[in-house]
Symmetry: C2
Subunit: 202 residues, 2 copies
């Protein structure tokens, strides 16, 4: 499979370059994407944070609403709070359902967080809006998925919306442009009793 000489390699790569250039030239569309990170593996929120970093590095305005994480001081919040002109980072959750143990309160918290997401999406000055762990809220029927779909259908054309959390509902996947399933291959919580660590989970 591998070329035997450097000259063969060069010739093969020259041809590949032509094909790649043609492929890139065919991709001309720019649009605000609906992005979903789901699956049981690690990386859903981290990958959203990575895109936030990229966006603010280009001077784009970003809003991040966290539906589950609350008052806990995270590394991401410490960094993003250094860029107040570019990113509004709001952990609006109160923890997991088993922490609050209060369904009506969970619903009210989800509703308040969703209202913030809606406000940001409606405002075209935001280039990117992250609804972190929204899928969990949808999974518990704390918000109707139809309401989320209606907002996405009417978002400004160039706004990117990133939605994270396991168990993304199929109608949301259908509406999305870019969907990645973070598939767990190995996880040290499960296999080695490693705890949540700074820099990795928060």
């Amino acid at each position: 499979m591998k070329p035997r000489t450097d000259a063969e390699h060069q010739e093969r790569m020259r041809k590949l370059k032509v094909a790649q250039d043609r492929k890139i030239a065919s991709k001309t569309i720019e649009k605000g994407l609906i992005i979903v990170h789901t699956g049981t593996g690690k990386g859903k929120t981290s990958a959203a944070l990575g895109m936030v970093v990229r966006a603010i590095g280009h001077g784009m305005k970003v809003g991040v609403i966290q539906f589950v994480k609350g008052a806990m001081q995270t590394g991401e919040k410490a960094v993003f709070d250094r860029f107040p002109d570019f990113v509004e980072f709001k952990p609006m959750g109160e923890g997991f359902t088993w922490d609050t143990q209060d369904r009506s309160r969970d619903i009210a918290v989800a509703r308040a967080a969703w209202d913030e997401v809606k406000r940001m999406i409606a405002d075209p000055s935001y280039h990117m809006v992250v609804a972190d762990e929204l899928n969990i809220v949808l999974r518990y029927d704390y918000l109707p998925v139809d309401e989320v779909l209606a907002v996405l259908a009417n978002k400004p054309a160039m706004t990117h919306v990133i939605i994270t959390g396991r168990n993304a509902p199929q109608p949301l996947i259908d509406a999305a442009d870019l969907v990645t399933d973070m598939t767990q291959v190995k996880h040290p919580f499960r296999e080695q009793n490693v705890k949540a660590q700074r820099g990795i989970e928060f």
Copy 2:
């Protein structure tokens, strides 16, 4: 499946909380993790960048070596360059194999990048080292995987090492603590001819 009353919800969550607390109490180990992000979907590098954000937000020192990305000005570089005391961010690549068309030069570039990764891993003042797209270099046999495994086997106990790129070799997966396969469900390059966009891909 869903509880009918708020009281039932509360009772169920109370029990779940006991189980969750027991589970968390069993996880006591802290260690530097070998983390691999692989798969054909989007999010491998983004998720690594998200962990870099978390780490520097906690004052940890991070090194990032990019094996493919080169001189191109990215959003992530613009942000991380604002934190020179915490993150050393080095795009050391010269593009894809079809850009360079020169195997011996690709190998020399991979070797230089790997030397930097080795230096950072050997220095315990780095809490996290990211080898971005190292898997691609391994895939092309530009570096022997055994050399990478030897360095990982001797890394300082608390250093996290994150390796990204599709086609992670099985021996690397075997050596890792945390492996996520970013599985492509939908991608707008492929399906909608959307181009690479600021804030999303760079």
